[in-house]
C-alpha cells in the first residue's frame, strides 16, 4: 500500500511539473526520469552482485530504435517509440545475456563494456546513421492523438512518468518475488544457490534481461527529450555515468536512482553553467566522498534521519 501511495504521489507531482514548469525544467525532468529508469535497471542487475560497465549499449539501442522508427519508418507516435526502444534492447539483451550470464566479477564488467564499444564502433562508422553526428527524431502523436507544437515535451514527460512509475512498481514486486530473492542469493553465495537446486545462471540471465529492457526504455525516453541521438549514448563514459548514479543513490530503495539522477542532473547543469572545466573534477571528488563516507549511497542519510527521529 505504501508503494501505491508513493507511486500516485510521484505521478501527481510529475504531472503538475509537466503542466506548470518552464520548458527547460520539463526537459531536465525527462532526462532525470530516463536516467533513473536505466539506473533502476542497473540496480536490478547489481542485486546479483554484478556491475555492468556497458549499460550504454542498451541505452543507445533504445535511443536509436526510437529514432529509427521516426526517421526510417515515419512512425511518429511517442508511445510506440518508447515500447520499441524497450523491446529492441530486450531482444539484444536476450541474445547477449545467454553469453554474459556465464561471467562474473570484473570479467562480466569488461565483456559488457566490450559489447557497448562494439556498437559504438559500428555507429561511429555508419554513414547512413549520421556517424558521429547522429540524427534527429520527431514524434508528433501520442497513442494516435496529435500533439500541438510546443506541448509535445510536456505530454512526453507525463507519458515518461507513467512508464517510469509502472516500471518502478514492477521492480518493487520483482524484488519481493522469486527472481529478486534468488538474485541476492547469487550475490551472497552462488555455489550454495546451486546446491539448493536453483540455477544462478538463469537468475543472472533474467535480471540482466530486465536491466537491458529498462535501459532501452530509458534510452528511448532520453531520445524523445533531446530530439536527437548520437553514438555518445553507447560510449563507455555514458555507462560509467550510470554506475556513478547507482553508487550515488545506493541500492537501498527503488526511489534512490531517481533521486540520485535528479541530483546528478542538477549538479551537471550548475557546474556546466559556472565552471565547465571543473565539472568532471567535482564529479570525481563527489564519487570518492560517497565511496569513503557513505558506502551505501546517499540514501543512508535519509535512513539515518528516520531512525534518529
Amino acid at each position: 500500500m505504501k508503494a501505491a501511495a508513493v507511486a500516485i504521489a510521484s505521478l501527481v507531482a510529475l504531472t503538475a511539473l509537466a503542466l506548470l514548469s518552464p520548458q527547460w525544467l520539463v526537459f531536465m525532468a525527462m532526462l532525470m526520469l530516463a536516467k533513473g529508469v536505466v539506473v533502476l535497471g542497473l540496480l536490478v542487475l547489481m542485486r546479483t552482485g554484478l556491475v555492468s560497465f556497458g549499460q550504454g549499449l542498451y541505452f543507445g539501442i533504445g535511443a536509436y530504435a526510437a529514432a529509427l522508427l521516426s526517421h526510417g519508418l515515419h512512425v511518429a507516435d511517442a508511445a510506440v517509440m518508447l515500447l520499441a526502444g524497450a523491446a529492441a534492447a530486450a531482444l539484444i539483451a536476450a541474445l547477449l545475456g545467454l553469453l554474459l550470464a556465464g561471467y562474473r566479477d570484473i570479467f562480466f564488467a569488461m565483456l559488457s563494456l566490450a559489447f557497448s564499444m562494439i556498437l559504438y564502433g559500428l555507429l561511429v562508422k555508419s554513414a547512413a546513421l549520421g556517424s558521429t553526428d547522429g540524427f534527429n527524431l520527431h514524434a508528433r502523436t501520442f497513442f494516435g492523438v496529435a500533439l500541438a507544437p510546443g506541448v509535445e515535451r510536456r505530454v512526453f514527460l507525463i507519458a515518461g512518468a507513467v512508464f517510469a512509475v509502472v516500471v518502478a512498481l514492477l521492480v518493487h514486486r520483482l524484488f519481493r518475488g522469486h527472481w529478486g530473492r534468488l538474485a541476492t542469493g547469487v550475490r551472497d553465495n552462488e555455489l550454495r544457490v546451486s546446491y539448493l537446486g536453483a540455477s544462478p545462471y538463469r537468475a543472472v540471465y533474467v535480471n540482466y534481461l530486465i536491466a537491458g529492457a529498462m535501459a532501452g526504455l530509458g534510452g528511448a525516453l532520453a531520445a524523445l527529450a533531446v530530439g536527437h541521438v548520437d553514438p555518445e549514448t553507447t560510449y563507455w563514459t555514458t555507462s560509467g555515468e550510470f554506475v556513478f548514479i547507482a553508487i550515488l543513490g545506493g541500492t537501498q530503495s527503488i526511489l534512490a536512482p531517481f533521486v540520485a539522477a535528479t541530483i546528478f542532473e542538477a549538479l551537471r547543469t550548475v557546474a556546466s553553467q559556472y565552471a565547465p572545466n571543473l565539472w568532471q573534477m567535482s564529479l570525481g571528488l563527489a564519487m570518492l566522498a560517497i565511496i569513503m563516507f557513505l558506502p551505501a549511497g546517499l540514501w543512508t542519510l535519509a535512513e539515518r534521519r528516520r531512525r534518529s527521529a
Binding site: F53, M110, G121, T237, Q280, G284, L285, I291
Partner: protein, 298 residues
Amino acid sequence: MSSILPVAFDGIAYASWLFLISAGLTLIYGVMRILNVAHGSLYALGAYAACSLAGVWLGGGLPAAGSFAMLLLAAILVGCLVGPLIERGLLQWMYGKDEVVLVLITYAVFLIMEDVIKLVWGVDSLLLPEPYALPGYFLLGGLPYPVYNVLLIAMALATGLALAWALYRTRKGKLLLAVIHDREMSMAMGINVSRVYLATFAVGATLAALGGAFTAPTIAVTPGIGVEVIVLAFAVVVIGGLGSLGGAALGALLVGLVRAATVRYWPEAELFSIYAVMAMVLIARPKGLFAAQEARKI
C-alpha cells in the same frame, strides 16, 4: 603483396605502443588487484609533460636529438611523482575493497585528473612534431616509412625484455611474484608489501606515461586523449589474461595486427574489429589467453 609489409609494420608499431600502456595496467592489476582507470590519465599526463619538457628543450636552441631524452625524462617524472601521489594519497586506504569498487575509485581519479590537465595546460591542442620528423624516413615496399616507428618498436621490445628480466631474474622481482601469488603469506614472511605496492604503482604509472610521451610527437595532444586509450588497454589486457605480462604482449600484437589489417582493407570496421577480437577471445577463453585458473571457494 607489396602492401602486406607496411601493414605488418604499422600493426607492430601500434602493438608496441599498446604494449607499453597495457604492461603497466596488467602489472598493477596482477600485484594490487586494481583495474586502474586512471591509467588513461597517466598516459595523457605523460604526453602533456613530454610536450612541455621537449618544448622547453627545443625552445632553448639545444640539439634536437636531446628531445628524445626529454620524452623519457617526462615519463619518468610523471611516473615517479604522480604515481606515488595517487598510491600513497588515496589508494593505500582502499585496499581490500571489492574489485568493482576499486574500478570506480580509479574512475573518480581519472575524472579529477582530466580536469587538472585542462587547468594546467589549457584546452588547446599542443603539437610536438620535431622528434617524429627528426629520424627521417626509409623506403618500405616502395613507400616512405617513418624511422620513428621503428624506434618505438625497439623501445617497446627493450622495455618488455627489461620488465621480464626484472620480474623473473632479480631478487626484487621474485619478491613481487611472491606478493602476486599470496599476499598474506608474503607479509608473514617479512616482505614489505606496502612498499611493493608503491613500487609497482610507480613502475606501472611510468609505463603509461612512457606510452603517452612517445605518442605525443605523432598526434595533437588535446584534452580527452586518455579516454579512448584506457578502453583499448583494457581490451588488450583482458585478451591476454589480467595480470599476465606475456599476455599483454600477445594481446597487444593481436590487437595491433588486426587493427592495421582492418584499417588497410576495411577501414569502417576499425574500432569494431578490436572489441570483436576481445569478445571472441573471452567467449573462447573466459579469463583471457594466459590467465591462471583459480579454485572456487564455497
